[in-house]
Symmetry: C2
C-alpha cells in the first residue's frame, strides 16, 4: 500500500453565495488547491456533497465538477455519507492513491444551503436518519441531539459546561479568513439565546452556510504532510437501540482503526478537528476519540486544554459552530485545516510544533463516521 501525502489545499470562505452555483464554489476551491500543489496533472476527482439532490435538484456531481473545472474526461466519483461526506470522500481519495489507481487526486466538497429556506435545511439533515423508523416520527437532528444533551446533563455536566464547546470554537475562529462567524461569543450569550431544541440553545448550533474545500493527494515523497490513518465506521441508525447512546460507537471504531494504522495513541495527537454541529456532539466526539474520558470532555473544554497552546488544541479555526458547517464540504474543511497546521501554515491559529493531527466527521447521529489522521514528515 503506497503512502499518501497532501500536496495542496484550497478553501473558500464559508458564507452565503447567492449569485454562485454549486459547481462554481467547487471549482474555486479546487483551482486554489491545484495552484497550491503546483500541478495540473490531476488524474481523478472525488466530490463530496450531501444535499444537492434536495437543495439544487442536482445529482451526478462527479461529471458536473470535472466539467466546471474545464477538465471533462477525468474519472470522477461522488461520495455521500450525510454530514460525514467530506471525511468519507477523503478516505476514498486516499485509497485511490494508495491502490496505485491514481497518481494525483483532487478531492473536494461543496454545499450550498442558502438556496433553500432554513426549515428545508432541517428536512435535508433528517434525511440522514432512517426514514421508515426514525424520521417518520417527525424528529429533527436537533431534537435527537437534544435527547443526548439532556441525558449528558443528567449524568455529567451543567448546561454552561457543554456550551463552552461553542464559546471555545468562536474564540479560535477570530481572524480566520474562511470562517463564517469569526467573532468571540460569551457563555452568557450562548445560554441566553433561545432554545433550538431544549436543552440546546440556538448559539450551540452550527449555522447554515455555503462553502467548498479541496485538497490534492499524491504518493508521499521526501517531505510534507502524510495521511497516516484513515478509517470509516458505522453504527446502528437508531439511538433507541444503542447500548449507550452517549457513546458514539462509529467514532470510537473509526478512531481505533485510524490510530492503529497510524501507530499512534490519543495522547500523541497534537490537534483535533471534531464534529461540533451541536455542542453536545462535539463533546461526545472528543470522548469517543479517546481525547477525554467518558463524561469528562467538558472539563477539557472548560480549561485551556483545547486552546492552541493547550494539551489537545481542538477546532483551531472555529469548528462547525464558528468556521461554519456547509454539510458535505465540512469534512474537507476539517482535514484541510489539519494539513495547514502540520505545514506550519496556520498563521495566528498555529499550534506550535504540531506533528500529528486528526479530523473527525459524522453523518446522521454518528451512524457513520470518518477519522483521518495526518502527520508531518521529513522536516
Amino acid at each position: 500500500m503506497r503512502r499518501v501525502a497532501v500536496a495542496g489545499v484550497g478553501l473558500i470562505p464559508v458564507k452565503e453565495y447567492w449569485d454562485r452555483s454549486l459547481q462554481s464554489l467547487f471549482a474555486e476551491a479546487a483551482l486554489k488547491a491545484l495552484k497550491d500543489a503546483g500541478t495540473d496533472k490531476v488524474d481523478s476527482v472525488y466530490v463530496a456533497n450531501m444535499s444537492g439532490s434536495f437543495m439544487q435538484d442536482q445529482i451526478n456531481m462527479g461529471a458536473l465538477v470535472t466539467d466546471s473545472l474545464g477538465r471533462p474526461g477525468l474519472p470522477a466519483v461522488r461520495v455521500e455519507a450525510g454530514a460525514a461526506s467530506g471525511g468519507v470522500a477523503f478516505h476514498e481519495a486516499v485509497k485511490a492513491v494508495a491502490s496505485g489507481y491514481s497518481e494525483c487526486v483532487l478531492v473536494g466538497g461543496a454545499e450550498k444551503m442558502s438556496d433553500v429556506l432554513p426549515e428545508a435545511a432541517t428536512t435535508a439533515l433528517v434525511m440522514s436518519e432512517e426514514q421508515e423508523y426514525t424520521a417518520y416520527t417527525g424528529v429533527t437532528q436537533a431534537g435527537l441531539s437534544a435527547m443526548l444533551h439532556r441525558l449528558y446533563l443528567d449524568l455529567y455536566a451543567e448546561p454552561a459546561q457543554v456550551g463552552m464547546m461553542a464559546v471555545k470554537g468562536h474564540d479560535h475562529s477570530v481572524g480566520c479568513k474562511h470562517a463564517q462567524y469569526p467573532f468571540r461569543m460569551s457563555i452568557d450569550r450562548a445560554m441566553d439565546s433561545p432554545m433550538e431544541a431544549d436543552p440546546i440553545h440556538m448559539m450551540e448550533c452550527s449555522g447554515v452556510g455555503d462553502g467548498a474545500a479541496a485538497m490534492v493527494l499524491v504518493p508521499a515523497a521526501d517531505s510534507g504532510v502524510e495521511v497516516v490513518g484513515s478509517a470509516v465506521a458505522t453504527d446502528c441508525c437508531s439511538l433507541a437501540i444503542r447500548r449507550d447512546p452517549l457513546i458514539f460507537e462509529s467514532v470510537r471504531r473509526a478512531a481505533e482503526k485510524a490510530y492503529s494504522m497510524a501507530g499512534v495513541k490519543p495522547d500523541d495527537i497534537d490537534l483535533a478537528e471534531v464534529h461540533d454541529d451541536f455542542t453536545i456532539n462535539g463533546i461526545l466526539s472528543l470522548e469517543a476519540l479517546g481525547l477525554a474520558g467518558w463524561g469528562e470532555a467538558t472539563k477539557l473544554v472548560a480549561g485551556n486544554a483545547t486552546d492552541k497552546d493547550g494539551k489537545i488544541p481542538t477546532n483551531t479555526f472555529g469548528g462547525l459552530k464558528a468556521r461554519g458547517h456547509p454539510l458535505g464540504a465540512t469534512g474537507l474543511y476539517q482535514v484541510a485545516e489539519v494539513a495547514l497546521q502540520l505545514r506550519g501554515a496556520a498563521g495566528d491559529h498555529q499550534v506550535p510544533g504540531a506533528e500529528v493531527g486528526l479530523a473527525q466527521s459524522m453523518g446522521g447521529m454518528a451512524s457513520v463516521s470518518a477519522v483521518n489522521i495526518l502527520r508531518r514528515f521529513g522536516v
Copy 2:
C-alpha cells in the same frame, strides 16, 4: 496493486416491491452474495443508489445498509453517479481491495422506483443533468436521447434497425429469473408502440422497476473471476457543446483505459452488458466501446452477432430494456451477469466458452461512464 476477484454474486428479481423497503432489497441481494461467496468476513461495504434522496427522502445509505444487514460498525460508503452509480461503486470497491484497505468487500446497489409516480422517475433522471443549464430548459432524458436518435437516423439507420436493440434484449431475457420483462417482443410491436419522445417509441425505453444486486470482492487466489480492468470517465455535461454528440466520449475513454489495464482489445471481449436505457444509447455505447464501427452498431444488432453464440453476445440476460433498470442497482446487475457468464453459471443464457466479459454503465447523457472488464482465470 493487488489482483481482485469476484467471490460471490446475489441478485433479486427486478419488479415492483410495494411492501419492501430500500434497505430490505439491499439486504436480500447482499445476503445472497455472501452465501454464494461462503463468507461472513466482510470488512467493508459499498452501496450504489441514485435516487433514494428524491424517491424515499433517504440519504446516508451506507449506515442504513450495514444496519439492515445486522452488521452496524462496518465501514460503508455510498457512491452516486446517476444511472452509472452501480458501475462506479464497483470500481471503488475494486480499489478498496486492490489498495489493501479491505480483504473482503460487499458491494451492492438498490433502487426503489415504484414508490413514486412515473413522472417523478422522469424528474429524478433529469437531476443527472446540469440544473442551471440543461435541466432548466425542461428537457427530459428521453428528450435528450431523442435528439441523438434523430441525428443517428438522419446519418446512419432506419428506425426499425435501432429498435432491434430492444427486440434482441427481450429475446435474450426469456427464461431469466431476475428479469422484469422476460418475454419476446416483435419489432412491429416496438415500432407500433406510442412515441415516448419522437423518434423513440415507448417499447424502446427501459421501464420503472425496483431491484438490488450485490457482489463480494476479495484478493484473487488460484481460480475464479478476476476484475482485470476497471475505469471511470466523464464528459462535458451538455450535448450541445460536444464535438460529436453521437460519440459517447466518456464511454470511449473509460473503455480505452479498461482495455489497456486488462491488456485486451475489443475483439477479445466474449460478451458485453451495455447501457440500453433507450435503444439509441445501447447502440451508441456499442460503438463507443469499439465493439462496432461508428454508425455501424445497428448492423451488429440486426444479425445474430449479439446473440449468445454470436460474435459479441450483448445484454445476455435482457439488458436494461428487458432485465430492467433499477437506476443505481443497474450497473451491479450488469457486472454480476458478466461474472455469472464467466463462471459458466448463466444457465440457458450461457455464452459458450466465455473468458472475458465487459459491463458498461452511464449516468446522465454519458456525462459519466464506468467500464469494468472481468476475466475467468485458473480454469
